[in-house]
Symmetry: C2
Subunit: 252 residues, 2 copies
């Protein structure tokens, strides 16, 4: 059996796109690292053998993706930035704004990710890290008397610590990004809820239960409590139909 040659339709690749690819490839390959500088626009013009406009279009794309930053008049050229979550977050927010991504999906994702991180953390945690966890609980308690933003910050520190203990930066980043997007969508409602203080106290209580389970090395229970906590905290903000799906995530 001989193969019949099959061809794909070809769409032209723009000049600016080629430039973006080259820069991103060098970044992925480690030949270009954060802090380094790209050649100046004029230098890039001659290296890529294209016009200034083309170079600038490529730089704008890289810039809007958080890869580099150009500053007018800087003789050192565009700076290569360290990876940041802003671009990732922007895309998630974009999808959430146009309803391509529902709040329930975001919360479901967090229930799973945070639960998993806690389960792993309860295996891997050292005694020192357990102390750290308990310190964050104290910080959360203190923050309640300040305001919701302070509490939210303390809560963030808790989840960052969990993710760190689980020794997986990918989980860590995903958690933080999604957490930020969810909070951006509904933090106002929570902050101005009449029972805001009661909500914070209950959340603190749940966090303490999680730490207890981690101390006992009972990852299974810890994860379950964490998912339940998150459900209780957020379920009021999602449509009834989606609540069932989220409930399915709690059980095991």
């Amino acid at each position: 059996m001989t193969k019949t040659p099959r061809f794909e339709p070809v769409q032209p690749i723009r000049a600016y796109q080629r430039i973006v690819e080259q820069v991103e490839d060098q970044l992925a390959r480690g030949e270009l690292t954060p802090g380094q500088r790209l050649p100046s626009e004029r230098e890039l013009v001659s290296q890529f053998a294209v016009s200034r406009s083309t170079v600038r279009e490529a730089l704008r794309v890289l810039e809007s993706n958080g890869v580099v930053r150009s500053r007018a008049g800087d003789p050192n050229g565009p700076e290569v930035l360290p990876f940041s979550q802003v671009a990732l977050r922007r895309q998630l927010v974009r999808l959430a704004r146009v309803d391509e991504l529902t709040l329930s999906e975001l919360i479901g994702f967090r229930m799973i990710m945070d639960g998993a991180a806690i389960q792993v953390a309860s295996r891997l945690r050292t005694p020192e890290q357990l102390d750290e966890l308990e310190a964050t609980l104290v910080a959360m308690r203190d923050a309640i008397d300040v305001d919701f933003d302070a509490f939210s910050l303390a809560d963030l520190a808790f989840h960052e610590l969990i993710a760190r203990i689980s020794r997986n930066t990918l989980i860590q980043t995903c958690n933080e990004v999604v957490r930020g997007v969810v909070l951006g969508l509904i933090s106002d409602k929570i902050a101005h809820a009449p029972n805001s203080r009661a909500l914070m106290l209950e959340s603190l209580h749940h966090h303490a239960e999680v730490v207890d389970a981690i101390r006992d090395g009972n990852g299974h229970a810890a994860a379950r409590i964490a998912r339940q906590n998150m459900y209780d905290y957020y379920a009021g903000y999602v449509p009834d139909a989606d609540q069932e799906t989220l409930q399915a995530l709690i059980e095991d």
Copy 2:
């Protein structure tokens, strides 16, 4: 106590950035919907009262984010594209490629995500979806006799179906992206392994066990088997030190 006025440092907002914002706002507000056309570049020049280069920089950014597509010579102007997760996916790939992620972290992430998706799927699956799952098993079996690429494709279909059943597109996207990055790193080694066929057969067997557990509604067991399967499949490619961490992910 009177408040001392405090000011934040101001960073200039580029002209192209303003244009991007206006377009994305109209999109989020529904005043601009997929399929519609933007005015031509020259029209935009007069509407935004900026130069053509500036308009083009904005269009390139929107284009690279999957928001619009310009085609040379199209008198209708740039097309507004349907919402998609390609931009989100691109950022995730960047994260996974650039941010010095180890293979073990990627695999650990997959063990958690895929396990969670399977656990949820075993609760939410309909009888029809169960049939679909069994059909993918048959497809995987057939693919083994072709080559590793075919098997990999059938495996992808399996995991896509799982993610779809779990009704969370975010999990789906993350799974696919990370799976793609992992395969990009080591698919060569697997394809050319001397026991390649044996590996595929074993993987198929594990997948069948997962489907069995899903049929019984035993999400817990299904997830465990899935994580074990992935560990067995990939563990040989990570350093010994990291293998312990990954093993911690299997148990519960």
